[in-house]
């Protein structure tokens, strides 16, 4: 065997060391030293806003046209150019884009209620309280429940933007034909559904969503109505509580009787007339109205033995990247202020079906054109922030959704499945979050 010369050995070691250095330099910090969160002590009064920012959006609710319109007006008013980047087709893709290299230069990002928290954990979001104050944005006029969805450890990390809640939709023509009353409880939804099926007007009296269609979001209302929940703070025992079990046994018994589970989405099924009642996002209202060839009725979400119909908040907010310069951050805050002005919020709501995030928005024009929209706005008084298990726990939403689908499409014991889910959620919390939140 040829003997390795000292020179070659040195060169080899150098190349290997450089490769190792390159690997560790590009990867995350593994030193184990927890970086202290930087205190934001910027004197915003001395900061001048940048003359351009980058806005990353997935154009929620088909909002590309209205976004462009509002952005153009913002540039005319302030002189700040806004480069728009389409960062994905949905909230998950946008979040993924922002967390990987693609989003490293974005200043304002659209992130959903269920996807912003990992970015917060990654120190990628700037707290917005002082920034919005410096940009003279009156945050007291935001709908409180919607703004507080971004509150964590005494700071807000976003402003409400494309916000929605689930809404109860029904086929008003069929209701009129059978003389049905608008339901206020889940029992009444079941009764109406059964009546519609028995009358031969439909094969599906109500459509539950599948795992791919945010079932854990809309079904939270059902669990709350029976006194259950997905979690209480970081305590996951609520998922296997009597209330949650009773609620999901009610739903499981209903499938095949007065209800079905949608293979696509409940709003698609409802708009196409496949089902007569459904719970879908307020953001789907415009789409449903455009395809339905029957009178669409809307109502508050149904309640149950334990609660009036509480509605989980949802949709997306506008976040500011922590990596942006103070000048860009200030310009981003001004941009958020513009997009959430009362008048602009009303126009955005009218174009998309999202609820207005500003309490001062005059929605009379919208109500005149789309009376169903009034229900969505009035229902905001019953809004409730979602449980941590769905929105803050990485993987929690998926585990929840898949178990809910298994319960709805199978005949397995509900309590057993929920107890298994509780264990899964607790393991997820321990492995993915506990060490970072301690």
């Amino acid at each position: 065997m040829k003997k390795l010369s000292t020179g070659r050995a040195l060169r080899g070691t150098a190349v290997f060391s450089l490769a190792a250095l390159a690997l560790t330099a590009c990867g995350p910090d593994t030193s184990g030293e927890s970086a202290e969160a930087e205190t934001n002590d910027t004197d915003w009064s001395s900061v001048e806003s940048a003359d351009s920012i980058i806005f990353a959006t997935n154009h929620p609710g088909g909002s590309q046209d209205i976004e462009n319109e509002l952005i153009e007006e913002f540039t005319d008013e302030t002189g700040i150019e806004v480069e728009v980047i389409t960062s994905g087709a949905n909230y998950e893709e946008t979040s993924q884009w922002f967390q990987t290299g693609g989003g490293s230069n974005a200043d304002v990002i659209v992130l959903s209620d269920a996807t912003w928290f990992p970015s917060y954990l990654n120190d990628a979001l700037a707290p917005v309280d002082e920034l919005l104050e410096a940009a003279e944005v009156d945050t007291s006029r935001f709908v409180t429940a919607l703004y507080d969805d971004y509150l964590y450890e005494d700071a807000h990390y976003g402003a409400p933007y494309a916000r929605s809640t689930p809404l109860f939709y029904y086929n008003a023509d069929q209701y009129e034909e059978l003389g049905l009353e608008v339901p206020t409880t889940w029992e009444e939804v079941a009764e109406n559904g059964r009546a519609l099926v028995e009358a031969g007007l439909t094969d599906s009296g109500f459509s539950f969503p599948s795992a791919d269609s945010y079932v854990s979001w809309t079904a939270a209302n059902l669990a709350w109505a029976y006194g259950g929940a997905w979690s209480e703070d970081w305590d996951f025992s609520a998922i296997a509580s009597d209330g949650t079990v009773e609620a999901l046994e009610f739903a499981q018994d209903g499938v095949g009787d007065w209800a079905t589970v949608s293979s696509t989405t409940p709003d698609d099924d409802f708009g196409a007339g496949v089902t007569s009642q459904a719970i879908a996002s307020t953001g789907s209202l415009v789409g449903i109205l455009s395809v339905a060839d029957f009178e669409v009725g809307t109502a508050f979400l149904p309640g149950g033995p334990a609660a009036e119909g509480e509605t989980p908040t949802g949709g997306a907010g506008l976040m500011i990247a922590s990596a942006s310069s103070p000048e860009k951050q200030l310009a981003a805050a001004m941009f958020i202020g513009h997009m959430t002005q009362p008048e602009n919020t009303a126009r955005f709501s009218q174009a998309t079906g999202y609820v207005p995030v500003n309490q001062d928005s005059d929605m009379s024009d919208v109500y005149a054109e789309t009376p169903q929209f009034e229900t969505a706005v009035e229902q905001l008084s019953r809004s409730r922030s979602q449980d941590n298990a769905r929105v803050f726990l990485p993987g929690g939403d998926l585990e929840l959704s898949q178990t809910l689908q298994a319960i709805l499409t199978g005949d397995g014991d509900v309590r057993e499945q929920l107890e298994a889910l509780q264990t899964q959620l607790e393991e997820l919390y321990e492995s993915e979050l506990a060490s970072e939140l301690d």
């Binding site: 990867g27 910090d29 593994t30 998950e92 990654n122 791919d212 589970v261 293979s263 196409a272 993915e432």
Partner: protein, 329 residues
């Protein structure tokens, strides 16, 4: 070889006594030869770097660097996008091989790969046998059969979503005509897996058919004719002549189809079943773990390394053992 012979001849040629070599001359010659060798070697290296250097750099930057980086990330407990991580050694690998979800991934991958490879190859061979006949319009038929292979996987999946939709899809209408209820393709894990296998086989069929067709056309016709004269029927001719002579093609397709089904089905799987309910093959699991709900970049990197070595081993085993059974003409 020629150079060596010349050198040997030169060494064997007798030196003339009138011109005896001197020690300093030999030393000078040796140095000259060494210099010439160095110059040649340097010239060869320069040429090599000039032609191959850019490609080597690209391969190092875009294949080997990410591969080695990924191996490093697989030893970390790292959430996607986080600036911090913890070194965990081989824990991610142990977790993948011992957790129930890891076992489920292997089960799904095995069923999908077997279904996709066998389905594509058997149907591809049958279509190739038909297209090998002198039928009118066979050029158009060949184009039609091959075209799905060049279509975008996302486009294919979207179209098949319309077909499989149990409420409004074309298939449910056809089944309804015969009084059969549509299966719950999207809600039942087993049906969902069958659904994506069907779509993948449809998309991959053209590739197998065209490669088989090329193999069939390389079989000498005189062998077939001789067998026909000897009164061998079509089935006997197929199993005794056609299939043995097709073994190189079968072998090639087997290797490429296994690799493709494990790596290139992602777009169809992701579009038709976004959260991977029962369809999380290993390539889809890499995405779901890292970019999906869990954000486990380190764990996902470990699964990617496992996939890399799985394909490496499958290919090596096939080359080592299966190729022996292949009949080359």
């Amino acid at each position: 070889m020629a150079i060596q012979t010349q050198e040997r001849r030169a060494a064997e040629e007798p030196q003339t006594p009138a011109d005896p070599p001197t020690a300093p001359d030999e030393a000078v010659l040796a140095v000259e030869r060494k210099r010439a060798r160095r110059r040649q070697s340097s010239k060869n290296w320069s040429l090599f770097l000039l032609f191959a250097g850019p490609n080597i750099l690209l391969i190092l930057a875009f294949i080997y660097y990410p591969l080695i980086s990924n191996m490093y990330y697989s030893t970390l407990d790292w959430r996607l996008g986080s600036p911090r991580a913890t070194s965990v050694g081989l824990d991610n690998y142990i977790r993948f091989f011992t957790s129930p979800s890891g076992v489920e991934v292997w089960r799904v991958t095995g069923i999908f790969t077997a279904g996709a490879v066998i389905g594509s190859m058997v149907l591809g061979l049958l279509i190739a046998l038909v297209l090998n006949k002198k039928l009118p319009g066979r050029t158009i038929a060949r184009t039609a059969v091959f075209s799905p292979y060049v279509l975008s996987g996302v486009g294919i999946a979207l179209v098949w979503n319309f077909i499989f939709d149990p409420a409004r899809g074309a298939l449910s209408h056809i089944l309804g005509f015969f009084g059969i209820a549509s299966p719950e393709w999207y809600l039942n894990e087993d049906w969902a897996l069958l659904m994506v296998i069907i779509v993948y086989v449809w998309a991959n069929l053209g590739y197998c058919a065209v490669v088989f067709l090329a193999g069939l056309q390389s079989i000498p016709q005189d062998l077939i004719e001789a067998a026909t004269i000897d009164r061998a029927g079509p089935i006997r001719r197929f199993f005794s002549i056609t299939l043995p002579l097709l073994t190189p093609t079968v072998f090639f397709l087997l290797v490429t189809n296994i690799i493709f089904s494990m790596t290139r089905a992602f777009d169809i799987l992701r579009t038709m079943t976004p959260t991977g309910h029962g369809t999380n093959t290993i390539i889809f699991e890499i995405y779901l773990q890292s970019f999906g709900a869990y954000q486990r970049a380190g764990y996902s990197a470990a699964i990617a390394v496992v996939l890399f070595f799985t394909l490496f081993v499958i290919t090596a085993v096939q080359l080592r053992f299966v190729e022996r059974k292949v009949h080359y003409q």
